[in-house]
């Protein structure tokens, strides 16, 4: 297990997650979505740099979730 902090706008949450928890897992996580209120169309950033979904989140990392622009229907 490891601890990560996730921020979405002015709200943030610190939680323990599995050691192999990736940025994609975070973006898809219903638990984090419910706690912070983000949707399906997001990107994950660390220190302002967008992260790959497959990358494992380092322990004690602070991840900022941002809403991504969608394309016109």
């Amino acid at each position: 297990m490891k601890t990560i902090t996730v921020k979405y706008g002015v709200d943030s949450v610190t939680k323990q997650v599995d050691a192999d928890f990736t940025f994609g897992d975070l973006q898809d996580s219903d638990q984090f979505k419910a706690a912070l209120g983000y949707g399906d169309n997001t990107k994950a950033l660390v220190d302002g740099i967008e992260q790959n979904r497959e990358t494992v989140i380092p322990a004690n990392a602070t991840v900022r979730i941002e809403t991504k622009a969608n394309t016109k229907a």
Partner: protein, 230 residues
């Protein structure tokens, strides 16, 4: 410039230290790099009649202009359901009307224009429409023609102008006359709880939002929203 320092150590011995200093001509570059993402907020830069005060978030490469709206022009199709006039954005048959929705006191709606100074003119890089709560959480209103990041699908308009003021004015003009259609539409139920009008003898009076307004919107967080001045 060279300095000589004589240091007395704890053990009583003396050491001579020579320090060499020379000015490096990188001050501005370093400052520019360090402040690349820093924006300066300036309030009440100008005032646009019928819209109000315009605030700015001035970045190194662009300026985000922000106007707190007290109304949203809703050129859309509407239908009378249970004596309440509600939008029918995807309809092709219901009556089309230019109703004006008044923003309630507990909702802050901000219209934003991002401009960039080009060679001899200023260009509009985009328009956004955000709703904010009292703690400055950002929300996407239940309206069509809005991307997930609250960027407005404005349609074509002349976005290259001589001044930033003209860019903001043109953007607002476009916002005022644009029709809300079914592009980027989500569920109509949320829109119909949010934008409601009571038909009276002479006009259509905006009705309060049905329920907690934030539950009818999606929460938004973007780098651009962080710059919004409310």
């Amino acid at each position: 410039m060279e300095k000589t320092e004589i240091i007395l150590n704890h053990d009583g011995s003396f050491v001579e230290r020579l320090v060499s200093e020379r000015p490096l001509n990188v001050g501005q570059n370093v400052l520019d790099t360090l402040t690349e993402n820093v924006c300066r907020q300036v309030r009440n830069v100008f005032h646009i009649p019928e819209w109000g005060a315009v605030h700015a978030s001035v970045g190194v490469h662009d300026v985000l202009w922000c106007i707190a709206l007290d109304k949203i022009p809703l050129h859309a199709r509407f239908k009378l359901i249970n004596q309440v006039m509600v939008p029918m954005f995807a309809s092709g048959t219901d009556i089309e009307m230019p109703l004006v929705w008044r923003v309630p006191a507990n909702v802050k709606v901000v219209f934003c224009v991002l401009t960039k100074a080009e060679d001899g003119f200023v260009s509009v890089e985009g328009n956004w429409l955000f709703a904010c709560d009292s703690e400055k959480r950002g929300y996407r209103l239940p309206l069509p023609n809005l991307h997930d990041d609250c960027r407005i699908c404005t349609g074509q308009f002349e976005g290259d102008q001589e001044t930033a003021l003209a860019c903001v004015q043109k953007s607002l003009d476009q916002f005022a006359v644009s029709k809300w259609n079914s592009d980027l539409m989500r569920t109509i139920e949320q829109s119909q709880k949010f934008f409601r009008f009571l038909p009276t003898k002479d006009t259509f009076e905006p009705l309060p939002i049905q329920g907690e307004w934030t539950s009818l919107c999606s929460k938004v967080s973007t780098a651009l929203y962080e710059r919004v001045v409310v």
